[in-house]
Symmetry: C2
Subunit: 433 residues, 2 copies
């Protein structure tokens, strides 16, 4: 009998001891990174860019990878394991026969799931003797998470932040500064690739691709700095599987199992971290679970082309085989800015290509998803991040289908972050003032 | 052996089933509310103002009072029980021999411990057939918590918000509106007592005392509305004991016990909720724990006079025996606005009077407490509410004394809320921009 409890929790010692690496379980080999036809080799540059252990994890074919004890301590300090909630209030309001469960990544100290890989990367970087971390950020969640992780392990941190967002998120900017991070609006005059754009237009709005290029260039030039990426790459998704692994244990405790696993998707780390352990069950245990990635019409990358493309604007990264809208395509700003990225992680892209993952893209005016978030807030009481609103909207839409069809599905969705620092976005889209 | 774990948690079924009422354990009877020498009886009005069950709890001499099952469900939905953290990062940074533990009320869905009584009051109000809740708010935390609780149980909510704060906390205002609450800047033209001040000055900054008067008058005139108070009263502290009761169980699990219990104090609900179960151990079990209430120089009410005074500006409430600065005294604004109140709850006041509780008041420029909050953020990773920064500052100051004196004390402190919606305050005081 499935639990009637509103909250399913884990003990401290039930925090996973290993991450799940799906690569050996994939039905086809994952296409490796490649070099473009012209220019210097990007693939050969990877060891100079990525943290050694992370690069090893990127290529690993081990199914289970140990989480070091020191890092598990940091996960505990960050409040993990996080509760799984049964959405009794929401179910009742919808009148759905579906059982709805959501994972509470919104309990993150910085506001999103990004801390799970930020802590891992900072931990390994310190182990390798680096003194500084360099990165980019779009919505600001990743930059905050890395600033936090750097502060906790005692490293410096430099963040290149897409100017269009940097300008209006004063709270998040100051939050990063409180952690001691150095934050530059991107394109900046701190790097060659940034300066080229900055000199032409000091108000250049920037893009995630440009900011990635700046972070990469910064780290490339300083041997004491490591570059950290917050999504897309295999090792980032690996670190995030702690979310799905906890959720699996919680479903066991709840004596239930999801028919449908839903989360929002930008680059793929939150979706992958939540869904991959369940995809593993489909691939190796014959489970029939379905997966839906909730996206924005502003960046429906899973509806793009499946081909090799760069992960950044300035073509510093190798080519990755992925669903992409093109690495220099400009994308209209949205409030759920963490979803605004041209490409999807190679692992998720392959799974999508093989038919394991469905997708939906919501209108970029965001009215529908924010109304759904409001319904969630009023019945469950938690204020989701704008990105998480997509996950919620999709879960509610599916629960309403269950109602229409009289089907008793089990729906699991991830609320990847909180929206306490995103009230301007809600206010504007919902027309509160 | 005390635990080395960074986090001590409770199972869902370890959520307390009863609150602790300290009244029967007090060394002296608690002085009852009284009427002033002139005017109508306020004491006789109480049954028309307060929710029946809450009024019963206000006067109860039962040591243990059951938490109804339906309310325990709501506590679970709000994420209770909340972790107790061992501050290993902070201890290391300070180099203190003290063991420091903090309770994570910052995991509250609305941002503070206030949800614990908001849910209780909303639950009982619905049970009594009320359709609307009316209240006041100062810093905004209580108004948000009640808006949240009303939304979850399906009641309407009206909030009178001190205009001086209302004006600059747009995020918090819109958060309340998202829950469906009606929010008025106070003094407003919606009540007689408000209108009198509003008509003279439409920009009147207001005060918590005035806002309380407006909430009371509103509820007094509408039989379908119940008035709810967020602090000071006995039943509010009773509901908040869920914090300290959880913490006691967590100390048992940690195989440790606090020598020093610290929290910030405005009206007394957070301090009381955290400390009273431990005070009970002193009164009935011979424990030697010391208690410190951290306050602001802007409102050091525990250094005021111990006498009968009104809880509100317009003298609608009965007289309460409390430490007070005078109910019409004006207090300078601070960022930790939840600490800016003229009087302290009768229970805490009596304990203070009898020498059980020490107090410290920090300078009202808040530089010291915010610097301490920054140290906490950078070592523990959590962003505290400005009010909670006082609790943290006191805990750090005491841990440093332990270092000087080479004493291995156990310090427990409550981080009553998060600061995600208070970045303007931090930015200004820390001079981040």
């Amino acid at each position: 009998m499935p639990t009637e409890n509103r909250q399913i929790r884990l003990e401290v010692d039930e925090l996973p001891k290993q991450w799940y690496n799906i690569i050996p379980d994939l039905p086809e080999p994952l296409p490796p990174p490649q070099d473009p036809e012209t220019g210097p080799s990007r693939v050969e540059q990877l060891p100079n860019l990525l943290i050694r252990t992370c690069l090893g994890q990127e290529m690993s074919t081990d199914r289970w990878i140990d989480i070091p004890d020191g890092l598990r301590e940091l996960y505990l300090q960050a409040g993990r394991p996080r509760p799984l909630f049964r959405a009794r209030g929401l179910e009742k309001a919808l009148g759905t026969p579906a059982r709805m469960y959501y994972k509470s990544e919104f309990y993150s100290p910085t506001g999103s799931h990004k801390v799970n890989t930020a802590l891992a990367q900072a931990y390994y970087a310190r182990e390798d003797g680096y003194e500084r971390l360099a990165t980019e950020t779009g919505a600001g969640q990743w930059g905050t998470a890395l600033s936090y992780a750097a502060s906790l392990v005692g490293l410096k941190c430099t963040v290149y932040w897409v100017r269009a967002v940097y300008r209006w998120k004063a709270s998040r900017l100051n939050f990063m500064k409180m952690f001691g991070a150095e934050v530059h609006a991107s394109p900046s005059d701190k790097t060659d690739c940034g300066r080229e754009l900055y000199d032409k237009d000091q108000n250049h709005p920037g893009s995630l691709g440009i900011a990635i290029s700046e972070g990469l260039e910064d780290a490339q030039r300083d041997p004491k700095a490591a570059y950290c990426l917050g999504s897309v790459l295999n090792h980032v998704l690996l670190h995030q599987t702690v979310i799905g692994l906890e959720t699996q244990k919680q479903f066991e405790k709840a004596d239930d199992y999801p028919d449908l696993v839903i989360s929002c998707l930008g680059g793929g780390s939150n979706f992958g971290g939540f869904a991959l352990p369940f995809v593993g069950d489909v691939l190796t245990k014959g489970k029939k679970t379905k997966f839906i990635a909730a996206q924005s019409d502003a960046a429906p990358n899973l509806q793009g082309e499946y081909r090799y493309d760069h992960a950044d604007h300035a073509e510093i990264t190798p080519l990755l085989k992925m669903y992409t809208l093109g690495h220099q395509t400009s994308l209209v700003p949205i409030k759920g800015d963490g979803l605004r990225y041209h490409g999807c992680s190679p692992i998720i892209s392959l799974l999508r290509h093989l038919g394991y993952i469905d997708t939906i893209a919501y209108p970029s005016d965001e009215k529908h998803v924010f109304q759904r978030a409001l319904m969630f807030l009023r019945t469950e009481g938690f204020l989701p991040a704008p990105e998480s609103a997509y996950s919620i909207a999709c879960a509610i839409d599916e629960a309403l289908k269950c109602k229409e069809e009289g089907v008793e599905k089990v729906i699991a969705f991830n609320v990847s972050g909180h929206g306490f620092m995103d009230m301007e976005g809600y206010t504007e889209v919902l027309g509160l003032e």
